[in-house]
Symmetry: C2
Subunit: 347 residues, 2 copies
C-alpha cells in the first residue's frame, strides 16, 4: 500500500471536520487509489503541535480536542512551530488552514512557499495566499511540478475553480460576479424583514457564522478578498484586495432598504469583476439594488452564488445552499482527491 503524508496547519472547526471526513473515507480512498493517507503533523495556535513521521492517530487527536481542547501526552507533542513543521516535517501535502490575515495573506503564504521550495504539494483553505500572492505561488508550483489546489477558498467545496478548469475547457472567462459574503447577506435579509439589527447579529452568532467582530464582513473586506481570489485564478487578474473598489453595507439604512422595496428591489452586496478595454481587470464590491424577481434576490441567508461568463458558454451560475462545516471540509477533501488523481496519473 502506497502512502501519502499530510501536514495539517490549523485544526479548527474546518480542520477537525476534514479529519473526520478523512477517517470516514479511509477505506474508500484505499480501495480507489491503493493509497493510505496519513497525517504526520498537526499545527495549532492553542491546542499544541503534534508530529509523528509514522502517522498520528487521527481519531485519538480528534477525541482529545473534543474532550479537552488540547492534544494529550499520548501523542508525539513537539516544540516545533507551525513554520518549523512546514520546513522540517515529513509530508507530501501541506494543508494550509491557519487563520486568515485578510490584509497580508501571511503567514499562510510563507507556509505554502516553504512546501513548494521543498517540492511538496499544497492545498489551501485560506484565501489570503490566493488573494495576495496567487501568481507567484502558481508559478512556484508549476516550476516545482507539484499540485496547488484552493477550491475551498471561495464557497467551500462548491465547484468554482474546478468547474472552470475541468468542465469549461477552452472557454475564456470574461466576467465574474456573485454574492459571496454570508454575514452581510444575512443582515440585509433580516433588516428587509424588519428584524432589529441586534437580534439579527445575535442569531447569526448563535448559528456560528457571524464573527464576534464582524467588521471585516460588514465593510466588505471578506467579499473583496474572495472576488480577488476568483479574478486572480479565473481571469489572471494579478490584483490584490486593496485594489478592489470596495463599499460595504455599513452605510445602508432601514430607509434605503424600504425605499428599494417600494421600487420592487432588494439590496444585496454584490461582487463583480470585468475585463476593461486596456486588458486590466476591474473589481468591485458594493451594495446594489436587484429586482425582487431576479435570481440574486433569492440568494438568502448563508446561501451564496457565483456567476461566470465565458465566451463559449455565456453565463453559468453555481449556488451553494446554506453550507455547514462539512462543506468546507469537503473542499479540502476534494482537493486531496485531485492530488491523488494527479499522482495516480503520473505513475
Amino acid at each position: 500500500m502506497k502512502e501519502l503524508k499530510l501536514a495539517l496547519l490549523g485544526f479548527g472547526n474546518a480542520g477537525q471536520a476534514f479529519g473526520r471526513m478523512l477517517l470516514d473515507k479511509e477505506d474508500e480512498i484505499k480501495k480507489t487509489y491503493g493509497t493510505e493517507v496519513k497525517v504526520t503533523a498537526i499545527a495549532t495556535a492553542s491546542k499544541g503541535n503534534v508530529y509523528d513521521p509514522e502517522g498520528i492517530d487521527l481519531r485519538a487527536a480528534l477525541d482529545d480536542v473534543t474532550a479537552s481542547g488540547r492534544f494529550s501526552e499520548k501523542h508525539c507533542l513537539t516544540k516545533l512551530s507551525t513554520m518549523e513543521l512546514a520546513e522540517q516535517a515529513d509530508y507530501d501535502v501541506l494543508v494550509e488552514m491557519t487563520p486568515l490575515n485578510i490584509f497580508t495573506g501571511q503567514p499562510a503564504t510563507d507556509h505554502i512557499r516553504t512546501a513548494f521550495r521543498r517540492g511538496r504539494h499544497a492545498i489551501t483553505a485560506n484565501k489570503g495566499p490566493i488573494a495576495w500572492y496567487f501568481r507567484e505561488l502558481d508559478h512556484m508550483a508549476r516550476e516545482a511540478g507539484v499540485c496547488f489546489f484552493y477550491e475551498t477558498t471561495v464557497m467551500d467545496g462548491t465547484p468554482v475553480f474546478n468547474l472552470v478548469e475541468n468542465t469549461l475547457k477552452m472557454a475564456k472567462v470574461t466576467e465574474v460576479s456573485g454574492i459571496l459574503n454570508s454575514t452581510t447577506n444575512y443582515i440585509l435579509e433580516g433588516l428587509a424583514m424588519g428584524i432589529d439589527y441586534d437580534v439579527i447579529m445575535e442569531r447569526g452568532r448563535s448559528m456560528g457564522f457571524i464573527e464576534a467582530d464582524p467588521a471585516m464582513d460588514i465593510e466588505g473586506y471578506d467579499a473583496a478578498a474572495k472576488i480577488t481570489a476568483l479574478l486572480n485564478v479565473l481571469m489572471d487578474a494579478g490584483i490584490t484586495p486593496d485594489q478592489v473598489k470596495r463599499k460595504g453595507i455599513e452605510d445602508i439604512t432601514i430607509k434605503d432598504i424600504e425605499e428599494a422595496a417600494s421600487r420592487g428591489k432588494v439590496i444585496k452586496l454584490l461582487c463583480q469583476g470585468v475585463r476593461k478595454d486596456d486588458g486590466s481587470v476591474e473589481a468591485t464590491v458594493a451594495p446594489v439594488e436587484v429586482p425582487k424577481d431576479d435570481i440574486l434576490a433569492g440568494i438568502n441567508s448563508t446561501t451564496s452564488i457565483v456567476s461566470i461568463t465565458t465566451d463559449l458558454m455565456k453565463k453559468v451560475s453555481v449556488i451553494e445552499h446554506e453550507p455547514e462545516i462539512e462543506q468546507t471540509a469537503y473542499g479540502v477533501f476534494g482537493d486531496l482527491l485531485r492530488v491523488l488523481d494527479r499522482i495516480a496519473g503520473e505513475r
Copy 2:
C-alpha cells in the same frame, strides 16, 4: 500531427454551430493536443449525406447549407444511409445529433451501439439514448474501452454530468431536481404576466425555442426524458421516461396562476428524483407552487436550473442563463475535448 476523425450524424442548427466552433478552435486544438480534428462523414435527413475518409471541407459544407440547404456536388456525396455511415465510415468519434424520438430513443441508440461495437467513441447531444438505454450503452462503452459522453443532453454545455464526475468526487447523489423545460417555463411566466397564450406562443416560436407542435413540452414529456437522463447517470436509477410520474402544464389555468400569486407563489414545472427506502429512484414531473422569493421563482424565460444533493456537499445548483445555439454546440465541443484528453492520457 495526429488525426481524430468525426462522423456527424445530424447537421441541424446545433450541428452547424458545432461545425463553426470546430473551425474557430482548430488552431487551439492543434496547439493543445497536437491533433487535427477532421470530419469524415455528415449524415442528414434533408441536406444529403457526405462521406470522405480524407476529411470533408467543413467550411464549404457549412456555406453550402447556409446558401442552399443542401450539400453541393463539390463534396463527396454518398448514397450510404445514416446507419450505413455509422457502420462503415472511417471515424474515431461518432457524434449523435439526429432528431430525438422521445418515445423510443431510436434510431439514435442503434447508431451509438454500432459505434461501440466497432470500438469507436461516441458523443450524443440526443437525450433519447440516455433516457432509454443508458445502462446498456454505458456498459458497452466500458467493455469496449471507449468514451461515451453526453453533457449536452441536459442544459446544453452547462456542466451537470461533468460537474458530478469531475468536481464532486466521492460524493453520492441522493436527490436531483430542476426546472429543465424552457417552453413551459416561458409559457408559465408569460401567463403570470397576463400575456395572452397565443401571443406567448407566437413570441416563443419567433425566438426559435417553441416548437411548431409544443405538445411534447407542454405535457411534460421533454422534462420527463431529461430528469430520467439525469437520474440514470447520476443515481444509477435504471429507469425509462414512461416510469416518471408525469403531469404537464396543460391543465394549469389563469385562475390557478392568479390564486398562487395571491398566496405569494408562482407555478413552475418542477422535475424531481429521490431515492426511496427500497433503493429504487422515484421520478416526478409536475407543476408546483414555489414562494416568490425562492431561487426557483427567479428562473425565468429560457433559463434553467438543476440542483444536485449529495451526502458530502448537500445541495449545489447550476444555472444556465438564456442559452443560444452556441451553448448547445459547446456541450458537444466540450465532450470532444474530453475525448482528446482521454486519448492524450492513454498515450
